[in-house]
Symmetry: C2
Subunit: 370 residues, 2 copies
C-alpha cells in the first residue's frame, strides 16, 4: 500500500507498506540526497540489534549513516534524553539539511520527531516503525512529544515526517506482549470508525486470544493497512487536533492517566497499549451511561479486552491519583475532564464532558471487574 | 498601521502599531475569549516594573491574567528556564486553550514563543514587544528559540503568534544602549531591501549619532513601521526560511558568532544588536570582496556603524573561536560557511559560500579597524 496526500494544506506526506517498502525507501533516499546530506539513524539497543542490520542490508545509501543510540523504555522519553540528542546532533555538526531516521517503537518516533522539529528550528525526518504500536499509530500523523513531570506527552509539537516506511517483517522480532500492546490501537480504530472491522474482530477474537495468530500472518498486514487508512482519513482533515482528530483519543484519557500512574509507582510501568485497553473498558462504560452505547456492546467490548489483556487493578487510593492525572489531559478545558465516547461500535463522538459523579461511577464499575 | 495576511498558506496573522494599539488589543482579547480562557503574561523584572502597569491600565480583560516572571538577560534563554516555564504552566493547570502573552524584549518573545509551540503540542500566543529590537525584529515572524551549548537559537521552532501589538510608548522606558541595539536591525533592513531608506539613514546619521534623536520622535514610529513591512513582505513568501528569508540574516552569521563568543567570555556579553552591527561591518567587507559592493558603500557603512557603536575588538586567539561558532550557523551546508551578502545598498543575495582565505582576509580587515 502507498498512501500519499497533503496535510495542513501544504505539507506532502506518504506512507509505504508491503513488500516493496525497502525499494521505495531507497528511491526516497536517492531523491532526497541529490546534494550530499548527513543521515542519522536513531535506535535503541533493541532495534540496533534486531532491526538495524535488516535495514542496512537493504540500502546502499544508508551504509554511511551515523547511528545514535538511546536506551529503550518509556522512562527515556524525557527532556534529559532530548538534551542528549540535541547535543549529539550538535557535536556531530548536523545542519538543517540533515535527515533523521527514527528506527524503533513509539518512544523513538515520538522523541526523534520532537528533536527533528526543534533542532535548528526543524530538520526533516522519516519514521521506520518497528513495533505494531508504532506501525499502526505512533509513527504516523506527526504528533511528537516527551513526558514531563509524570504527564504523558506534555511537551511536544505537531511536525510531520517526510515519509513513513512500514516493514511487516519487523513484527516477527516482537514479543507477544508487544503485539498485544499495538493491538489495542487496532481495537480502538474499529470501535471509533469501522463497525465492519469491529464485527470481524469480535468473531475472530471473542473466543481466542489475538496472541494465537502467528505474527507473519497476512491478516496482520491487512490490519495495519486498514488502521493507517483510518488514521490518515481523520488527520488530513484536522492535523492540529482542533476537532475530529480527538476521535483517535478514545480510550486514551483514562489510558494515559493509568499509564502515568503505573509509571510513577512501578518500573517499567504498564505498556501504553495495555493501558489503552483498560481505558477502552473505562470509556466504554462512560459511553454506555452518557452517549447511548448499548449494554450488549459494552459487555462484548469488555469481554474481548479481558480475554486478551490482564486486568490492571487500581487501589482505592489510586482513584484520586487517576483523576488528578486525567485533569491534565490535553483535551480538557475550564478545569473539566473531556472524553471521546462511543455512540455505537464504529461511531464515536468528541468533546464529551463527564461530571465527577459519572467518573466515580465508572471507577466503581472498573473496580468490580477485578 | 495594521498589517494582516496569511503565512504558510493557512495561518492568519496581524500586527498593529500606532495609537489604537491598546484598543485593538482589547478587541482581540474580547473576540478570543468568547469562552473563558486562562491568560498568562510572561514578563521579566524590567517589563513587570515598567511595562506591565501600562498594559494593565489599558485592559479590563487582563485584570485577571496570571503573571509569570523570569529573570531578564540572554543567559536565561536556556533549556533550564524553558523547563521552569513548562512547569509553571503545568502547575497552574494551563490547558491547550490558554493564551500566553509575551511582554518584553527578544528573550521573552523567543522563549515564550518556544514554550507556546511545545506546551501540550502548542498553545496560542501573542507578542507585545517592549524593546526596539523586539518591535522591529524578534517579536514578528514566528521564529522561536533558545540558546543551547553556547550556540544561539540552536533549539527552537517556527510558530507564529496570533498577533503582535506594538506600543511605541514602551520605547521611552529604554536606555540608549537598548535603542542602539534595535537600530542595528533597522540598518540591516535598509541595506538588504530599501536603498531609499539607506540614503535617508546615511544623511540622518553620518554626522550624528542615532542616540541624539529623542525616542518619542515620530521618526521612530515610521522606522518601526517600515522595518516591519520589509520583514513581512519577505517572510509571507518563505516562512520556513528555505530561501529568501535568509536575506534577513545579513550581518548575523558573524553577529551571532561574536555574540556567542562574548557570552562565553564575559557576562552579560554583547547585546545582539551591537554584535549585528559588527557583523554588518564584517559581512559588508565580504560583500565588497565577493559580490561587488562598491568600496565607497563599504566605507560609508563602516563609518556609520562606528559612529554609533563601540568597536568590539577580538583577540588574535578569538579568530579561531569565531570561525568555530560560525561553523554552527543554521544557513550552512556541507561543512561550509554560508552568508547573505550585499550587491549594493538595498540589494542582497543569499547562499554565498565564502572560502576560508576570504574569511581570514575579512578578519584581518576587521582587526585593523581597531
Amino acid at each position: 500500500m502507498k498512501i500519499t496526500g497533503t496535510f495542513n494544506k501544504s505539507e506532502q506526506f506518504f506512507v509505504v507498506t508491503g513488500e516493496n517498502v525497502f525499494i521505495e525507501l531507497e528511491q526516497f533516499l536517492n531523491d532526497f540526497c541529490i546534494l550530499p546530506v548527513r543521515i542519522f539513524i536513531l535506535v535503541d539497543e533493541n532495534t540496533r540489534h534486531h532491526c538495524l542490520p535488516i535495514l542496512l542490508s537493504h540500502s546502499v545509501i544508508l551504509k554511511n549513516a551515523e547511528i545514535i543510540e538511546i536506551p529503550s523504555g518509556e522512562k527515556n522519553k524525557s527532556i534529559e534524553t532530548a538534551v542528549q540528542l540535541w547535543n549529539a546532533l550538535m557535536e556531530r555538526r548536523a545542519d538543517r539539511h540533515a535527515l533523521l531516521i527514527n528506527l524503533g517503537g513509539g518512544v523513538i518516533s515520538d522523541l526523534g520527531g520532537f528533536i527533528s522539529s526543534t533542532f535548528q528550528r526543524g530538520i526533516p525526518y522519516i519514521n521506520i516503525p518497528t513495533t505494531l504500536m508504532a506501525q499502526v499509530d505512533a509513527a504516523i500523523g506527526g504528533k511528537t512529544g516527551l513526558n514531563f513531570g509524570d504527564i504523558k506527552n506534555q511537551v511536544g509539537t505537531f511536525y510531520n515526517p517526510k515519509a513513513v516506511f512500514i516493514h511487516s517483517g519487523f513484527l516477527k522480532t516482537l514479543s507477544k506482549d508487544h503485539i498485544a500492546n499495538g493491538f489495542a490501537e487496532v481495537i480502538k480504530y474499529a470501535l471509533i470508525e469501522d463497525a465492519i472491522l469491529w464485527n470481524k474482530l469480535e468473531k475472530l477474537l471473542l473466543h481466542e486470544s489475538i496472541l494465537k495468530i502467528p505474527s507473519n500472518n497476512l491478516l496482520w498486514e491487512k490490519l495495519v493497512d486498514r488502521s493507517i487508512k483510518i488514521k490518515y482519513d481523520i488527520i488530513v482533515n484536522d492535523f492540529h487536533e482542533e476537532n475530529i482528530r480527538k476521535l483517535l483519543n478514545f480510550g486514551h484519557t483514562f489510558g494515559h492517566a493509568l499509564e502515568a500512574m503505573s509509571m510513577r509507582n512501578f518500573n517499567p510501568g504498564l505498556h501504553h497499549g495495555h493501558a489503552v485497553a483498560m481505558g477502552i473498558i473505562f470509556e466504554s462504560y462512560l459511553s454506555f451511561k452518557q452517549t447511548g452505547l448499548a449494554n450488549e456492546d459494552l459487555n462484548s467490548i469488555v469481554s474481548l479486552i479481558l480475554l486478551n489483556y490482564e486486568y490492571f487493578p487500581i487501589q482505592d487510593s489510586g482513584s484520586e491519583q487517576l483523576i488528578e492525572f486525567m485533569s491534565h489531559d490535553k483535551k480538557n478545558k475550564d478545569h473539566n475532564i473531556y472524553f471521546t465516547l462511543l455512540q455505537r461500535p464504529g461511531k464515536a463522538i468528541i468533546d464529551q464532558r463527564c461530571d465527577s459523579e459519572l467518573i466515580q461511577d465508572a471507577l466503581e464499575y472498573y473496580h468490580q471487574l477485578r
